[in-house]
Homo-oligomer: 136 residues x 2
Amino acid sequence: MEPPKHRRMTTQRLAILAAVVEGGDHPTAEEVHERVRQRLPRVGLGTVYRNLTLLAGAGIIRLVNLAGEPARFDGKTEAHHHVRCSRCGRIEDVVLPAGNEMREWVSARTHYEVTGHRVEFTGLCPNCKQAARRRT
Amino acid sequence: MEPPKHRRMTTQRLAILAAVVEGGDHPTAEEVHERVRQRLPRVGLGTVYRNLTLLAGAGIIRLVNLAGEPARFDGKTEAHHHVRCSRCGRIEDVVLPAGNEMREWVSARTHYEVTGHRVEFTGLCPNCKQAARRRT
DNA sequence: GTACATGCAAAAAGTTTGCCGACTC
DNA sequence: GAGTCGGCAAACTTTTTGCATGTAC
């Protein structure tokens, strides 16, 4: 369970990183796999998953992970959210304003017809706050 | 692909509905299965999925479907969002205010230490807006 | 040379589906 | 009695993992 001490920059890892960053989109692991295989045909899907997870853990790429579909990866690590088309599944970036009327704002900005949004908060519940305090 | 014309209220369907509504929590399909099997031991997981999907489609329960975990179901159908503990996975309800400072507000209201939130918009992209118009 | 990384294949986890007999209306 | 529904098991999709070999440092 110990994380590795040193990272090695292998051909595969570099190609996987490039496939996510240079695409400028939000590929699934499977899509990354296809792209990488055009240059390195022997790369396995397991390797793709391992490296995407590792790169996301290092903060080099972002795990998008929208609900109800396979995970996607994003070369842009700055804070931003996403619009997803409920019909074709297409995903685009959205930078939220601080203020109100978010749906209208997003709709005007992206030319999507925004029909819904989901907000999900994460954090520590009261029990876990205590538990974390004890262990620190 | 045609949906059934008439719904029948079977013992199993009723028990599955009860397991979600009476629990007052956010069970996964597997958890619903366990609860139902205490009274009806021969119920299969497939039946549970079929009925949860059907009930959610009819708007009787809600599919929660947080990112990165198995789908969950919610007996409360009014508009509300969720806080999830990133440590133990516990999920609670949150009703959002219209205004700003959402994270602080959620934190004060739920006693969670809110460390992150995700916002995901859904709708129709420009292409699909046109396509939908054509078909209507 | 040593640890980390890859390839391959098997397995795990979550969900869907096909078939046929059973039950609801 | 017609048509929906449930039980069971198989299949499917996405992701993880074990193991022997390969490779960056």
